[in-house]
Subunit: 118 residues, 2 copies
DNA sequence: GATTGACTTAGAGTTTACTCGAAGTCGTAA
DNA sequence: TTACGACTTCGAGTAAACTCTAAGTCAATC
């Protein structure tokens, strides 16, 4: 599929897709006879994972590191697993901190509620 | 207290403190005879709340809006409460999404685990 | 009276992650 | 055969949130 369809399916603009390729997140994107990008099914899955990593606060820089590992094939399985484990534990403590922020917000809201008496 | 101590206590650099004042997050900071900032206890509490809002993903722009309300006094209590309630519900769904990302990461890690057989 | 250290302002520079624009190529449809 | 739409590259521009620099002031200390 070409860029417009891929963009549609992933929700990422064609500009951003080219940018991601330039900085090494997407690699080895196929080209058709006239030099246009021709994305494969597996690019969709990888792009979805990129989006997940990004949504959990991983920098494009780190995602790029993971992308490098991916390219190296099976020799990097352990490294990739470790990278994800570190990221996962960071995410866990991040979620915990967000939960305590949430509780503090609720307290503040309750406080306003008392002051307002509505 | 002056800027260096306030910076120490809040963990925010003096540059950033001045920046926050410039964009209207911190307002009416007292000055001493020689024109130096002289932060009060209540500035500490407000700064802590700014940091909490920021940590939960609120933009400085929105925090500034809240800061305006604060300055208006009691007439804005309802507005402030509403702003926090909106933010709180956004935070709740954000935490939920992070939790589902976390589960997906665990799945991926398990998958690597199987492949590695360690 | 000179030096030091902490402050002041205004404005320029940095980082991350896009986002856009210009100029050009290619295949199809009128 | 020319017009179109979708693509291409390269490089410049943008937004948010800092971060730093330069030049200057002021109080205290040597």
């Amino acid at each position: 599929m070409q860029v417009s369809e891929f963009s549609q399916l992933t929700g990422v603009s064609s500009h951003t897709l080219r940018y991601y390729e330039k900085i090494g997140l997407l690699k080895n994107v196929r080209r058709n006879a006239s030099g246009h990008r021709d994305y494969a099914e597996k690019d969709l899955a990888w792009m979805a994972f990129i989006q997940r990593l990004k949504a959990t606060g991983m920098s494009l820089d780190n995602i790029q590191r993971y992308s490098e590992y991916r390219e190296q094939g099976d020799v990097s399985l352990v490294a990739r697993k470790q990278l994800l484990e570190v990221h996962k534990s960071q995410l866990e403590s991040y979620i915990q901190s967000q939960q305590s922020h949430l509780a503090a917000l609720q307290d503040k809201i309750n406080h306003y509620h008392q002051q307002i008496n509505d």
